[in-house]
Amino acid sequence: MSGDMILFFILASLSVIFSLLVIFPRNVVHSAMALAATLFFVAVLFLTLDAPMLAILQVLVYAGAIMILFLFVIMLLNPAALEGRRIAWWTLGSLAAVALLLELVSLFFYRPSPSGQPPVAAAFGGPETLAQSLFTDFALPFEIASVLLLVAIIGAVALAKREG
Amino acid sequence: MTDHVLTYMTFFPLAGMVVVLLLPRERHDLVRWASALFTLPPLLLAVWLYRNFDPVNPGLQFVEKAAWIPAYNINYFVAVDGISISMVLLTALLTFLCIFASWGIDKGVKGYFALFLLLDTGMMGVFVALDFFLFYIFWEVMLLPMYFLIGIWGGPRREYAAIKFFLYTLFGSVLMLLAILALYFSSEPHTFDMTQLIAQSSRYGTTPLHFWPFDHLRWGFQHVVWMALFIGFAIKIPAFPFHTWLPDAHVEAPTAISVILAGILLKMGAYGILRINYPMLPEATADLAYYFLGALGTWNIIYGALCAMAQKDFKKLVAYSSVSHMGYVMLGMASFTPQGISGAVLQMFNHGTITGMLFLLVGVIYDRAHHRDIDGFGGLAAVMPVYTGVSVLAFFASMGLPGLSGFISEVLVLLGAWQKYPLLSALGASGVILTAGYLLWTIQRVYLGATNEKYKAMPEINGRELFTLVPLGIIVIILGVYPNALLDLLRASLDQLNQLVIPHLS
C-alpha cells in the first residue's frame, strides 16, 4: 500500500466521520461546524488529486462563503422550530441517500470506459491555466460578471435604502 | 380620375371618416352633412360606372392592381364584373340614403358617423376586392364598425345582439381564413390572386379523403374547403341553421343599420359563394349545390315565411322575411341555368332595395310611437296616407306582385329552378303564398281597420324620410317594368360562371 493510498484512506474516513457528525448532534451549530470540517477534508482530497485550484475554491466558496451563509440563516431562524418535523426530514433524507447509493452502485458495475477521452495536460486545473483562460478566452464573460454584480449591488441598495 | 374609380369609391368614405373625426364634437349637423358629402361621390361614381360598364364583356373591368406585400405575392387588386357590379351600385346607393336615415341619431353623433363611414369602406371593399387577402381584410374591417353600431346605438338588448352577431360572424371568418390558407398553399406559385386561383381550380383535389365518420360522403379536399367557405358565407346569408343572430341583430340595431345589414351585409354571403366557391371549387359546387344551396334555400324560404307569420314585432317580421327571401337567392344559384342564376343576383339587388324600404318604414313609425308591436297600431291609413301609400308599394314589392321588381327576380329563380329541381321549385313557389299571407295580414293590422286612439295625431312622414324612401321606390318600379336595365349587365359574367360548373354536374 503506497503512501498516497494511506493518505486517501485517512482523509476519506475523516470526512465520513465528520459527515456523520453533521447528522447526529442535536445542536444545529455543531452540525454546521462538522459540515465545514467535512468540506475542508474534501478540499484536501482534491489536493491529492492534483487539483489545487479546485481545492482552494472548495475552501473559499464552500467552507468559507457558504458556511457563513448557513450560520447566518441558523442564527436568524429559530432552530427549535425544525425539531417537530424530525421524522419527515429523516424519511426524506434517507430516501435521498438510498437513491444516491443506488446511483453509486450502478456506476461501479457499469463504468463508462475512459479510453475514448484524451489524457489531461499536467497543468490542467492549476491556477495558471485557469487565470490564463479567464483573462483571454473568457475575458468578456469575466467583465460582464462585474456588470451583473453591479446590478445586484444597485438592487440591494434600492431595496434596502431607508426612506428620507 | 377614371383610372382609379373603384379605389375612389372604396376609400372616399374612409377619408370622410378622418374628416369627421377631426370635426368638433358638438357640431352635430356639420358631422352629418360632412358624412353625406363623403358618401355622395361614390354614388355619383356608381352612376358613372353603371353607364360605362361594358355588358358584353364577361371578364373583369376597371381593373387596378398594385403590389402590396410582394414577398408573399399579395396585391392590391380591385375590379368589377357582372357578379359584383349590382352589389357595388346597391352599396353606394344604400349608404348614401342611410346617412339621411341616421339623421335622428343624437348620442355620440361623431362616433356613429365615423364608424358608419368605415363600414362603408369595408363593404365596398368586399365587393371590389379580387385578392383573397384583401377580401378577407375588408370582410373583417366591416365586422367591427357593425359590432359597435349595434352595440352602442342599438336597442335595450344591444350588447347581447352585438356579441351574438360578432361571434357568429367571427366563427365564419376563421373557417374562411383556414380555407383561404388551404387554397393559397395548393396553388403554384402560392398566390392570393382570385383570378389565378380560379385558373388553377383543377389543382384542388377531389380524391376522397378518409375522415371518420364521414368516409361514406367521399369528400375530397375541394369539398372540405367548399364546406368551410360555405359555412362562413352561410352565416352571413343567413342560411338555416345559422340564422339565429339575424332577428336579434335587426331588432336591436338602429334603423339605418338594419337597412345596411339586410340590404348589403346579407348579400355578401351569397356574393362570396358566387365569387369564390363557384369558380374556384367547381367540382365540389356541382356535387354539393343541390343539398346546401337548393334544398337548404327552399327550406329557408318556407321556414323564414312561417317564422315571419308568427312575429308580433314589426322589425322581427321583416327580419324573418329576409331569411325567406334570401332562400330564393340560394335556390336560384343552385339551378345553374341562365334564368336561375341571374334571377338570384337580381333578387339580391331587389331584396336590398325592398327590405331597405321596409326597415325604413318601420323606423318611421318607431320614431313616432316608440314601439314596434304590430297589433299596437291600426288604421294608420287614415292618419298617414302618404306613408301608407309608400308602405303598400314596398309590401307589394316584397310579396312579388307583378309590375314590381320582386316579381321578376322570384319568377326567374323559380323558372330556373324548375328546369332542374321541379319539386324544390314547387315548394319554393308555395313560399310565395305564405309571404303574401303574412304581408297582407300585417297590412291589415297596421294600416287598415279602426284607427288606434293613441295615434290619431301621429305626424305624417316628413321630407327627409321621404327622401330616403322615394329613390328606392322608383328603382323598385323601374326594375319591375324594365328588369333588363340591370340584367343586361349581369348576364355575360353569370353565363360564364355557369359554364365553369356545368361540365362537372353529374
Binding site: 468578456l140 464573460p141 456588470v147 451583473l148 444597485i154 434600492a158 | 406585400i69 414577398a71 373583417e140 350588447e159
Partner: protein, 479 residues
C-alpha cells in the same frame, strides 16, 4: 492581440448611460429628476444609432463568443425601443409611487444590456450571464414599489422561481459542456455533427434542461404559474417590460440556440415543443377568460401569446424565424399600448385595474378608448392590425412546415381570445361609471408612449412588407 470591440458598441453605450444616470442621480435635486429621463432616452437613441450604423455587418469577437449579425442588431433595436417605451410610460408612474427614479431607470437600462447580450451571445456562458443580468434587474424592478406589499411578494416569488429556472438552465449548460466539451455554440454544433452516438443521453438531458429553463422565462405552460402574480404585483410599466422585452430576449436566445445551432437535434424537441405550444395557447386563453382584473387578463394573454410564438419555433426554418421576429415586433407594440392605457387609469392609491374601471372610458377619454380598442382588437387578431398580420404569418409558417393542426388550433384559440378582449371594449363603450383616466396634460410622456404603440400597431398591420423583409433578413443572418 487585435480585439474587435464593434459588437459591444451598443451594449457598452447602454451600460455607460446607466452609470451616468446613477451618478447624476446623486447630484441633482428631486424636482430635477426629469433630466434622468432625457439622459436615458438620449443614451438609448445613441445606442440605437450605433446599431443602425452597424447594420449589415457580420463579424464576431472574443473567439466568436459574441456575434454581430443582423439578428443580434434586430433584437438590439427591439430591446432599446422597449426600454425607451418603458421609461416613457413610467415617468409619471414612478413619481406617483415614490419609486427611486435614478435606480429605476438605471436598472431598466442594465436589464436591457443583459437582453442585448442574450441575443448576441454565441456562447452559453455569455448567454447565461446576459440572462442573469437581465433577470436580476427585473426582479429588483418588480419589487421597487416598496410601499406596496404585493410588489415585494411578487419580487420574492419571481426571484425564487427565477432562481429555480436558472438552476435548470445552468445544469443543462453543464451537461451540454460535458457532452460536447465546449460552451461555444459553434463548437457544440460541430461536436454534434461529428459524434452523434457518443454522450447523446447526456447531451439530450442537457438540451432538455436548457429547454425547460427557457420555457420558464417565456412563461410557457406548465411553467407559467408565477406569471399572473408577478405581473399583477409588479409596477405596471415593469409588467409591460417583462411581458415584452424579457419574453423577446428569451425567444431570441431560443431562436439562436435551437433554431440555428442545435437544429440537427430538431427531431428530438419538435414533439415536446408542439405540446408546449398547444398547452400554452389553450391554457393561457382559457384562464384569461375568467379574470376580473384587466392586468391579470393581460398577464394570461401574454402566456397565450407565448404559445402563438412557440408555433413559430415548432415550424422553424426561414418562414418560422421570420414569423417569430415579426410577431415579436407586433406583440411589443400592442402589449405596450394595452399596459400603457392601464397605467393611464391609475389615480393615486387606486390602481383601477378591474374591467369595471374601464366602463365609459371610450366617451370620457376618447383617445384612450380608441387606442385600447385598437390594442385589444389587434391582440385578438383582427385585420388590418399588427396582431392579424403577425398571426397570419405564424399560422402560415406552421402550414409551410406541415403542422396544419397547429395552425388550426392557433386559429381556434384566437377565436377564443376574442371573448375576453372584447369585454374590455364592451365595458369602454357600452357601460357607464368607472375610472376617469389621466388627461393628456397630466401624463404627456405616457400619451406619447401610447401614441407610438398605436402607430406601430396600425403600421405593422397595414404596411407589413418592410418589417417582414427586415425580419427575414435578420433571421437569415444567423446562418
Amino acid at each position: 492581440m487585435e480585439t474587435n470591440l464593434a459588437p459591444l458598441l451598443p451594449s457598452a453605450e447602454v451600460v455607460l448611460t446607466a452609470l451616468s444616470v446613477l451618478l447624476l442621480d446623486l447630484f441633482i435635486r428631486k424636482d430635477e429628476k426629469g433630466l434622468l429621463v432625457w439622459i436615458s432616452l438620449i443614451g438609448l437613441a445613441l445606442a440605437g444609432g450605433m446599431a443602425l450604423f452597424l447594420w449589415g455587418s457580420h463579424e464576431g469577437a472574443f473567439q466568436d463568443s459574441i456575434l454581430l449579425d443582423d439578428f443580434a442588431l434586430f433584437f438590439t433595436e427591439l430591446f432599446l425601443g422597449a426600454a425607451a417605451i418603458t421609461i416613457l410610460s413610467s415617468v409619471h408612474y414612478v413619481r406617483e409611487t415614490n419609486i427611486h427614479e435614478g435606480e429605476f431607470y438605471a436598472l431598466v437600462l442594465l436589464s436591457t444590456f443583459g437582453m442585448i447580450l442574450m441575443a448576441a451571445a454565441n456562447d452559453l456562458i455569455l448567454f447565461f450571464l446576459g440572462l442573469e443580468t437581465m433577470s436580476i434587474g427585473v426582479y429588483i424592478l418588480t419589487g421597487m414599489w416598496r410601499e406596496r406589499s404585493q410588489a415585494s411578494e411578487a419580487a420574492m416569488k419571481y426571484f425564487l422561481i427565477g432562481a429555480f429556472a436558472t438552476g435548470f438552465l445552468l445544469y443543462g449548460i453543464a451537461l451540454i459542456y460535458g457532452a460536447a466539451g465546449s460552451t461555444h455554440l459553434g463548437r457544440i454544433a460541430s461536436a454534434l455533427g461529428q459524434t452523434k452516438s457518443h454522450g447523446s443521453i447526456i447531451l439530450s438531458a442537457g438540451v432538455f434542461l436548457l429547454f425547460v429553463g427557457l420555457a420558464f422565462k417565456v412563461a410557457a405552460v406548465p411553467f407559467h404559474f408565477w406569471v399572473p402574480d408577478v405581473y399583477d404585483g409588479a409596477p405596471t410599466p415593469v409588467s409591460a417590460f417583462m411581458a415584452v422585452a424579457v419574453k423577446a430576449a428569451a425567444f431570441a436566445g431560443w431562436a439562436r440556440i435551437f433554431l440555428y445551432q442545435l437544429s440537427p437535434l430538431q427531431s428530438e424537441w419538435t414533439l415536446p415543443l408542439k405540446a408546449l405550444a398547444i398547452l400554452t395557447m389553450t391554457v393561457g386563453n382559457l384562464l384569461a377568460i375568467s379574470q376580473s382584473s384587466v392586468k391579470r387578463m393581460l398577464a394570461y394573454s401574454s402566456i397565450a401569446h407565448a404559445g402563438y410564438l412557440l408555433i413559430a419555433l415548432v415550424a422553424g426554418g426561414e418562414s418560422g424565424g421570420q414569423a417569430l421576429l415579426f410577431y415579436l415586433l407586433s406583440y411589443a407594440a400592442m402589449t405596450f399600448g394595452a399596459f400603457g392605457v392601464l397605467i393611464a387609469l391609475k389615480e393615486g392609491e387606486n390602481d383601477h385595474e378591474a374591467y369595471s374601471d374601464f366602463a365609459g372610458l371610450g366617451f370620457k377619454r376618447p383617445f384612450l378608448g380608441m387606442a385600447m380598442s385598437l390594442f385589444m382588437l389587434s391582440l385578438a387578431g383582427f385585420p388590418p392590425l399588427a396582431g392579424f398580420t403577425g398571426k397570419f404569418y405564424l399560422f402560415r409558417s406552421a402550414v409551410v412546415a406541415g403542422h396544419i393542426d397547429l395552425a388550426i388550433i392557433g386559429a381556434l384559440n384566437s377565436l377564443l381570445s376574442v371573448v375576453y378582449y372584447l369585454r374590455v371594449i364592451v365595458m369602454m363603450y357600452m357601460e357607464e361609471g368607472g375610472a376617469e383616466g389621466k388627461p393628456f396634460a397630466r401624463a404627456p410622456y405616457l400619451y406619447l408612449a401610447i401614441a407610438i404603440a398605436v402607430l406601430g400597431t396600425v403600421y405593422l398591420g397595414v404596411l407589413p412588407a418592410p418589417a417582414l423583409d427586415l425580419s427575414r433578413i435578420s433571421f437569415i443572418s444567423l446562418h
